[in-house]
Amino acid sequence: MVMADMNQTDEMLEKLFETARCEVVDLPPGLLARVLADADAELAARTAPPLRAAPTRRTSGFMIVLGELLAAIGGWRAVSGLASATVAGVWIGFAGVGNLSLTTVDLLSGGETLAVLNLLPGDDVFALASDLGDFE
């Protein structure tokens, strides 16, 4: 290529570049909307609340369950009543009982007598009177 041709081609190239620089790009329909939708989606993803809120202070699972249980049965006052009853039961079981009345012995021994069980005298009232007489 001779020098004159090169110069002319250079000039042509510069004009083509200039035309290209001035070219206004028409955005295809929908492209800007898609770009903005992407921006909104990214924003929403960043600002969405976490699935589970983090606890404000560290609390063990056992303490959480204990707190819920206490609340269900009426709080620490109810627990103190339960504790007293439990201690009394343990003490009675450990110390045993002293002399029992005859009625109590009959009840605990399983021996059934008319004198013990028939508490509503009806037709057997005379038999009851007779038995009582024998008992004495």
Binding site: Q8, L13, L16, R21
Partner: protein, 192 residues
């Protein structure tokens, strides 16, 4: 804070605002940079549909980087040029993997670039010549002569030295001259 398309706020300020949750800032950024991304991608790829995909993907990456953007480290436009260039390079490399059977056969006896230029206007002639350049030369030429970036800016975009940019643009321009010389008259520049 509301913005219109002619907002005087800098690109960086707008990006930081968007990163902090300002939707209006995204609107201005989209109006400013989507055309840029589309224009560069179209020049690099020579395919409008692919360029559209690249522009959307590049803007999506801009939205994602916004919360981590550090002011003063880079210009938003430089960053976006780089992302678009890289996305285009990836696509061009994938194209090279296309099988030979899928490439259109050139018409007998007529150089394909000349044959196409007969029916196309000057802008398309330039695009055809750009398409014929190696991708790095094309990238440098587009950024220098069409986008108007300085050599240091191109060096930042392409992550190479300024001297390498000068070499790429010089070789690219020489190649374009050679490619277009034969079509000077056909394009209406034959008589100086």
């Amino acid at each position: 804070m509301a913005f219109d398309a002619n907002s005087q706020a800098s690109d960086e300020v707008l990006l930081v605002l968007y990163g902090n949750g300002d939707r209006a800032a995204a609107h201005v950024l989209a109006l400013r940079f989507t055309p840029l991304a589309l224009r560069v991608a179209a020049r690099m790829l020579g395919d409008g549909s692919e360029a559209e995909d690249v522009a959307q993907e590049a803007m999506l990456r801009l939205w994602r980087i916004a919360p981590e953007w550090r002011q003063g480290e880079a210009r938003v436009s430089t960053w976006l040029y780089r992302v678009v260039s890289n996305l285009c390079t990836d696509r061009l490399r994938r194209r090279r993997g296309v099988g030979l059977d899928e490439i259109a056969e050139p018409e007998d006896g007529v150089p394909p670039v000349v044959d196409r230029m007969i029916a196309r206007d000057r802008a398309n002639a330039l695009q055809d010549a750009l398409d014929a350049l190696p991708e790095r030369q094309r990238q440098a030429v587009v950024l220098r002569h069409i986008e108007g970036l300085t050599n240091p800016e191109i060096a930042a975009v392409m992550q190479i030295g300024v001297e390498a940019v000068e070499s790429l643009t010089a070789r690219g321009k020489r190649a374009l001259t050679a490619l277009l010389a034969a079509q000077r008259e056909e394009l209406g520049y034959g008589h100086g």
